[in-house]
């Protein structure tokens, strides 16, 4: 399953990067690569069934526990 995922990500990334390199859009390439690598890393970790922290927990912690700015 992970191999299929990596293959799909690799193909998608290859075509995306190829287009940007051919057009010499370096700024786009940097942003694309950064976001794509973040997304790919999360995807592979999810496929490996590693429990990832819920990003909303940070939001709840800030507003509930620190600022106490929430509806009780």
């Amino acid at each position: 399953m992970i191999f299929i995922l990596v293959a799909i990500l690799a193909v998608t990334g290859f075509f995306g990067v190829r287009e940007l390199v051919l057009k010499r859009y370096w700024r786009e390439l940097v942003l694309y690569s950064f976001l794509f690598l973040c997304g790919s890393a999360l995807s592979i970790l999810q496929a490996m069934r590693i429990d990832l922290p819920d990003p909303n927990i940070a939001l709840q912690y800030v507003f509930k526990d620190i600022l106490n700015l929430y509806y009780k």
Partner: protein, 367 residues
């Protein structure tokens, strides 16, 4: 960044506003737990408050004719502060997009495809939304006419079919909810369906007639408000005190329909309405995020970041909230406080700064 050539007409803007807010008609279902049978009054209060802030958003768009929220921030705020505010807004829109994607995915999982893994459903939904974003705002704007009509028709059909089961005495006693709960309900409804119209500031460069924008958006919001109000009153009239404990009141109301044992189980209508309405909402936020990133980082086109943003959205939607109960709690108790800054504080401050800068410029010209 190259500006798209397509301009959204006033009528398309109106239908986009209607479709956008229609996407929230089931999300207000979780508010019935807090406001109980006074949900209809909370909808009215939320609408009246939202009108003020929506007018502020429109005034900002008209003052900076043809400029998106990112460009407006660049004009109003100095250097790094402008970039920071813009980035934070992009993250805000991204979070709303993810939350809506999660909601849609969990809804489809609960009511339509219970055996399917969440990631499959979310990937399919996001793929369609990403495709619409890739084709441009033109596609989304044109679809909204048909989608808003389908949604409104479905709501009308369901309302007419349950008319015999409605008992308006269920609306009584009026205002039995405490003031605190009522304010919370109105605040959430103002935050989630209505004031999220703020995202339309990202579409400002694509609007053909900026002056006509006020009328079209306000008309669209008003028509959606009427639909939301009808749904709220209908659900209370049919379900009565049960509305406080049912997870999805609109769904349950539709299940009551039973015409000679032949026309039953019309809840699929609500499922269709929700899915197409959420498609519009997710697409608009997806578009706003990619467009915002393109403008912030001065890219040639927003299309290059559609795929990676989509992958991150899918992953975050799977990671977010372990259950519907957690997401409903966060939406009703935490999210209004978080969104307060973005929807109710920064836009009026931006407008005040714009007015002051405008006045100072006039004084300099006269002096």
């Amino acid at each position: 960044m190259k500006t798209e050539k397509y301009k959204i007409s006033n009528s398309q803007m109106m239908f986009m506003s209607i479709s956008f807010i229609q996407g929230a008609h089931l999300t207000i279902g979780f508010m019935s737990d807090i406001t109980g049978r006074d949900i209809w009054a909370a909808v009215i209060a939320a609408f009246l408050v939202s009108l003020i802030f929506i007018s502020i958003y429109i005034k900002l768009a008209q003052k900076f004719s043809g400029k998106s929220l990112i460009q407006i921030n660049d004009i109003l705020y100095p250097g790094v502060i402008a970039k920071f505010i813009s980035l934070v807004y992009i993250l805000f829109f991204f979070m709303i997009g993810v939350e809506n994607l999660v909601f849609t995915g969990r809804f489809i999982l609960s009511y339509v495809l219970p055996e399917t893994p969440l990631w499959v459903v979310v990937t399919m939904v996001n793929f369609v939304c990403g495709w619409a974003v890739l084709r441009g705002i033109e596609v989304i704007a044109r679809c909204c006419f048909l989608f808003s009509l389908i949604s409104a028709s479905a709501v009308l059909v369901v309302t007419l079919l349950v008319a015999k089961d409605m008992d308006f005495s269920n609306l009584q006693p009026f205002f039995e909810t405490s003031l605190k709960r009522f304010i919370q309900g109105a605040h959430v409804i103002a935050t989630i369906p209505f004031c999220e119209i703020l995202v339309f500031l990202m579409l400002a460069p694509n609007i053909g007639d900026i002056k006509g924008m006020k009328k079209s958006i306000l008309l669209g919001v008003s028509l959606s408000f009427i639909q939301l109000l009808v749904i709220a009153i209908r659900d209370v009239a049919v379900l009565g005190p049960l509305i406080s404990i049912i997870v999805s009141p609109s769904f349950e109301t539709t299940r009551v329909i039973n015409i000679y044992q032949i026309i039953t189980r019309l809840d699929i209508l609500i499922a269709i309405v929700l899915i197409i309405s959420m498609f519009v909402k997710i697409s608009i936020f997806y578009y706003a995020v990619t467009k915002g990133l393109a403008e912030l980082f001065k890219l040639n086109s927003y299309t290059y970041v559609i795929v990676p943003v989509g992958i991150v959205m899918i992953n975050l939607s799977i990671m977010t909230f372990g259950s519907s109960a957690q997401s409903d709690y966060a939406a009703a108790h935490i999210w209004p406080s978080f969104a307060l800054l973005f929807e109710f504080i920064i836009p009026p401050v931006s407008l005040i700064i714009a007015q002051i800068k405008g006045m100072n410029k006039k004084r300099e010209e006269v002096g």
